[in-house]
């Protein structure tokens, strides 16, 4: 293709084509790892990548590439980068964009597009990914002028990682990739009018928050994804311990506050611990940090924490009052807000509350069922938790296994429990585990998945084997879509419509064909040893655990119900 240069390329050393601009920018920004899948509209980009020194992981599906970038980003806090071609390549990213958007994960997706001269003519592999991705990205670009590329890339990375993070899509037509430009990268830091990534914190609001917290007799911190993103684990521990505040950690916050801490309430909400929900119900102050009062946590918003004053801290003003009107709102970066708060907090003992928390935990413990006839999935998670001492990177898929993992895996560190929270994307697990393992090669990465979720991106076994990523795959195999089956049992009179698989392959044999070491376990007495073996080896491995089919995730608060409306299983 003949390039239409907006300006003839000069002899300036800065001249390179658009694809080169992208690769130069990535190198300049310290990006060492990219996930992706080539195709017609990104061949120039891949050509520039070829001898760039940037590592590229070729997945077997674009969806897996973006989930892998997501896993990379979640485990490190760095920006994940993914390439895909136009049309189907780009549309295959949509689920991954939505997934990252819901959980505020910083990603930059660079997609190829048909040439600007063909845009809008329904040409081969053309899809309006700009239009499609508007509602599932923090922001997006279609680059129609090659000279804009340096500025767009700088903005994209700035937006992805700043403020409330999120995915950014940059759509780059093929002729933009091949046009030679000498436009330099902007030297000034990016500034976008009206975009305030770090809103100034109102000291008065912080003082009001601290006063409420100090006066409170039954305070609870309700911890959300914002706590993981801002890295406030030390601050939370200080607040909890100096003010005898119990801490409920939602899925994206798991690990920010150690699950084995006496003040930990574990998971609140639909499948949360009974003691977390009962404590919230008794609480007189909810300190909601980096949360969005999700329906899976709050249930019926009118019956959430009925006795409590609610203090909501979030960097995103649009979250304040979205679902629940707080009594005190603090807009700001959590790290800054808690830093200011800790300067003025006076330690206050609330021994009665501390006692009450201990009492609730003792009275309504999480139950790990055991059986000599079949393997109970909760027991598998418990075993894994004990064997890894809560030190591994745990990645989950979506469904029953995810909730059991959230309940029974004892996490102790932030960014070590990766799960698709907001979107609930089945198929997230395997690629996300790859991404996390590549980001942190020194750490043991365990994927907890189900036979349903696993088959949604099962092709990535090839990628895992190709790079010999020592991901340990633990399948809780119940032969059905367990969470759907459970809801059908509870709320649809056991009418198990399309939730039970008529066939599953032998996952262990399948994994062996892919070159993984793998086995299947059925007997309860062999489970412990099998999990040990899974964790012991150096390379990628899979353990297919045949678990009880009709096991349910309990406790459960049915959707839309109040905090203490626990579902009672009928006998």
């Amino acid at each position: 293709m003949k390039d239409k240069n907006p300006k003839p390329a000069t002899k300036s050393t800065g001249a390179r084509n658009g694809a080169g601009v992208i690769i130069d920018f990535l190198k300049k920004s310290g990006v060492e790892l990219v996930f992706g899948y080539p195709g017609g509209a990104v061949i120039p980009l891949y050509d520039a990548l070829y001898d760039s020194g940037i590592r590229h992981i070729l997945t077997r599906h674009e969806q897996a590439a973006i989930h892998a970038a997501d896993g990379y980003a979640r485990s490190t806090g760095r920006i994940g980068v993914v390439f895909a071609t136009s049309g189907p390549g780009a549309t295959n990213l949509v689920t991954g964009l939505a997934n990252a958007h819901m959980d505020s994960v910083p990603l930059v997706a660079i997609t190829g597009q048909v040439a600007t001269t063909s845009l809008g003519s329904d040409s081969f592999q053309e899809a309006d990914i700009y239009g499609i991705s508007i509602p599932v990205t923090k922001y997006n670009y279609l680059v129609k002028d090659p000279r804009m590329l340096p500025k767009v890339l700088a903005e994209a990375f700035y937006l992805a990682g700043s403020g409330r993070p999120g995915p950014i899509l940059v759509d780059v037509p093929k002729d933009i990739q091949t046009t030679v430009i000498d436009t330099p990268f902007p030297t000034k830091p990016v500034s976008i009018p009206g975009y305030i990534p770090r809103p100034p914190v109102d000291q008065k609001q912080v003082e009001a928050m601290v006063a409420a917290l100090t006066m409170s007799r039954r305070p609870i911190v309700y911890l959300g994804g914002g706590a993981t993103i801002t890295g406030v684990a030390p601050e939370i521990i200080k607040i909890a311990e100096s003010l005898d505040t119990a801490v409920a950690t939602t899925l994206p916050a798991k690990g920010v506050f150690p699950d084995d801490h006496p003040l930990s309430l574990g998971l609140p909400g639909m499948h949360g611990t009974k003691y977390a929900n009962l404590a919230i119900n008794e609480s007189d102050l909810i300190l909601a940090l980096g949360v969005r009062f999700d329906d899976r946590v709050v249930g019926d918003v009118r019956r959430f924490a009925p006795r409590a004053m609610v203090v909501h801290v979030d960097i995103d003003p649009a979250e304040i009052g979205k679902r629940l009107a707080p009594d005190i709102a603090v807009v700001g970066d959590l790290k800054t807000v808690l830093g200011l708060a800790l300067k003025i907090v006076k330690p206050t003992e609330k021994s009665a509350w501390r006692k009450r928390i201990a009492q609730l935990k003792a009275e309504f413990p999480l139950f790990v069922p055991r059986s000599e006839l079949e393997i109970k999935p909760q027991a598998v998670i418990k075993t894994l938790s004990d064997l890894t001492a809560g030190e591994s990177i745990i990645v989950t898929d979506v469904g029953q296994h995810q909730m059991w993992a959230a309940q029974h895996y004892v996490s102790k560190k932030p960014r070590r429990f990766l799960s698709s929270g907001g979107l609930g994307t089945m198929g997230f697990g395997l690629p996300a585990a790859m991404g996390a393992q590549l980001a942190l090669p020194g750490e043991k990465t365990v994927l907890i998945t189900g036979d349903g979720s696993f088959q949604m991106n099962i092709q990535e076994l090839a990628t895992i084997r190709e790079h010999n990523l020592p991901v340990k795959i633990l399948i809780l195999n119940n032969g059905c879509l367990g969470m759907v089956r459970q809801w059908q049992q509870f709320f649809f009179d056991h009418r198990h419509s399309e939730s039970i698989f008529g066939f599953n392959p032998d996952f262990a044999k399948l994994a062996q064909v892919y070159g993984l070491s793998a086995c299947r376990v059925k007997k309860p007495e062999e489970m412990d040893g099998a999990v040990r073996n899974l964790l012991a080896g150096d390379g990628p491995a899979l353990l297919d655990v045949m678990v009880a089919r009709e096991e349910n995730v309990l406790p459960m608060i049915p959707p839309g119900m109040g905090q203490t409306d626990f579902y009672e299983e009928k006998g």
Binding site: P135, I192, D316, K322
Partner: protein, 162 residues
């Protein structure tokens, strides 16, 4: 309750898509939307009339502020904004009632844009109230076609150009 929302946004190709997409996605009830250039070539002004209760309107404003392209969002009360709207009203008018319609048009300060044998097209320009009044008055006749631009507004005092 109806509110005026006045948005200043970066004049970029996708800005209307982002604004319109937000309205649909969050299920807001938008009565009119009008967009056009400002004194600054890089900035677009978008004026919306949104219906909803206080809580919803507060959310709308927050969500608009969150859009990356949006520079500022103001919610001026009608008393604190200069507003303007334009409507083209085409009315069936045979020779019998033509004069009556023309009289009413003069009274309301409407401009005649087109006269056909059996119809008249009038232009109403003014505040939203002026245009509403014209539309209501002429609905007693047979309106063949109606086009309204939607309200544009300038909050008072007029903001400094950015």
């Amino acid at each position: 309750m109806k509110k005026l929302i006045s948005i200043l946004a970066r004049n970029r190709p996708g800005v209307l898509s982002h604004v319109a997409g937000l309205i649909t996605r969050r299920g807001y009830n938008v009565e009119s939307i009008a967009a056009g250039p400002t004194e600054h070539p890089d900035i677009t002004r978008i004026t919306l009339v949104v219906a909803g209760d206080e809580h919803i309107l507060e959310q709308v404003v927050r969500q608009f502020r969150k859009l990356i392209d949006v520079i500022s969002v103001e919610v001026p009360s009608y008393g604190h904004a200069l507003t303007g709207e334009l409507a083209l009203i085409s009315i069936s008018a045979d020779s019998v009632i033509r004069e009556e319609i023309l009289n009413l048009a003069t009274l309301l300060g409407l401009k005649v844009m087109d006269i056909q044998e059996d119809s008249l097209t009038l232009m109403a320009v003014g505040t939203a109230h002026t245009v509403d009044t014209a539309v209501v008055r002429f609905s007693a006749y047979s309106i063949k076609a109606l086009a309204r631009t939607g309200v544009v507004a300038l909050p008072k005092p007029i903001p400094e150009s950015g």
